[in-house]
Symmetry: C2
Subunit: 264 residues, 2 copies
């Protein structure tokens, strides 16, 4: 078949995409452009988390490309955990609600056994209030200092033993109406609640980890001695398009658990 497909006149969507890069040709493969278009639909909420996206054939027809090209685009989205493929059923928008990928971002594991063994974490909300962003919080969330922010402090326990103390900061505009009951009452991952209640889907995060000594307030909440070593985990979580939507500072007890990481 003939090539230079990006300039096929009958492909309106791609012609538009090409038009945006006039100076340097900035060669972008067709499948990358298709991927970007699908991504836009995901961001726009055209298909909700858990729902099926159109079949490869449908998308191929919509974008006037071959199934293989759509396939490669979806392959990359699947590799980034934005969609999930299920043979015989379809391709689905990824969600934090599914049982088998729940708590994907929580790397704290019990020293013995699996996390499934110790049952669900018990959550205790210490406080949940609306504040104005301090300089540091504003920087992390790409806000202006003083912008409204929701701050949550909570303690997570496994088998009755407190293991995690964490503070969350969320952009006030995106999380209007978030309250303690909501944080507390929800069954399952907090990020699943964010999807359902606020339409905010976390797709990626960066963590900075340090060892610190527990201060008075922290030791009381985690029931350890003052000065005990704790794992400090600072996380910035992002939605689509690398937009930061959460700053989280966690303190992990690592006497019975550890932070697990796979390198490759």
């Amino acid at each position: 078949m003939a090539q230079t497909p990006a300039s096929l006149p009958e492909n309106a969507a791609l012609a538009a995409a090409q038009a945006q890069v006039p100076a340097t040709p900035a060669f972008s493969p067709l499948y990358q452009q298709i991927k970007a278009l699908i991504l836009q639909s995901l961001q726009a909420g055209e298909w909700k988390p858990g729902e099926a996206i159109p079949s490869e054939m449908d998308l191929a027809a919509r974008f006037r490309v071959s199934q293989g090209t759509v396939r490669k685009a979806i392959d990359e989205l699947a590799a980034e955990n934005l969609v999930v493929r299920r043979q015989g059923k379809g391709t689905f928008v990824a969600t934090h609600s599914e049982q088998h990928v729940q708590y994907r971002f929580l790397k704290l594991m019990p020293d013995a056994g699996d996390r499934a063994d110790e049952g669900p974490a018990h959550r205790q909300i210490v406080e949940c209030k609306r504040v104005r962003a301090a300089a540091e919080v504003a920087r992390a969330l790409a806000l202006r200092p003083g912008d409204p922010v929701v701050q949550v402090r909570r303690v997570l326990s496994f088998g009755g033993v407190p293991a995690i103390l964490e503070d969350l900061w969320l952009p006030g505009n995106a999380f209007k109406g978030l309250n303690a009951e909501q944080m507390d009452g929800w069954q399952g991952p907090t990020y699943a609640m964010f999807e359902m209640e606020f339409g905010v889907r976390m797709v990626r995060a960066e963590e900075k980890i340090r060892a610190v000594a527990a201060d008075a307030a922290q030791s009381a909440l985690l029931k350890v001695e003052i000065g005990s070593p704790l794992l400090s985990v600072e996380r910035i979580a992002y939605t689509y398009n690398d937009v930061p939507m959460e700053l989280r500072r966690g303190l992990y007890r690592t006497d019975t658990h550890h932070y697990r990481n796979d390198l490759s």
Copy 2:
């Protein structure tokens, strides 16, 4: 073209591969079988780290499959960082020696700036001795207790400040002749030295991270006060085929550095 390619009689290599799965058909795609064959050649050292492997066309001819099938096999190997593709040049066996992926497994970053800024780490070997594997070490390295093991203790410093104290345990059989001068004198990553001197290539690792308090010996070597919180990083590194080849226990100072992790 006709399908059921795994049973094409003219494909000797694949026929052999199929023969190994008699009971359950255990359907395995052609490209997976090709991938396994290429992996075998990598393990066998048919191509050394840094060298080019045969072109996609050559491999397609060798295995009697289409280029696309070889391509998909190599795609997966590249995704696992076992090979590196370079357009216009070829596909190369991955190595820890290249500048831009050096220290891929070291996640400790300076709080400000890039790791490139602070220059190369200074290594000081505290000791390097041959010992018999304790129970715990034997378990991690899949050896029998009492088997010969090389134990190394060293301190890594950045800008003159000690930042990492680590103990390494290596299987004695694979690392015959390893000595302090070798550990100390080598320029660049230790894993690059393992490749060059012992033909051992680390492809994957698991880390368990905890916060601990420095004891007397540790505080002296890292020049911190006794009881200071330190990051404990226990790593098991694997070669091809998930064979463990190194146990490493690191203690990281995290007052000027942090352990960085990307979640997705």
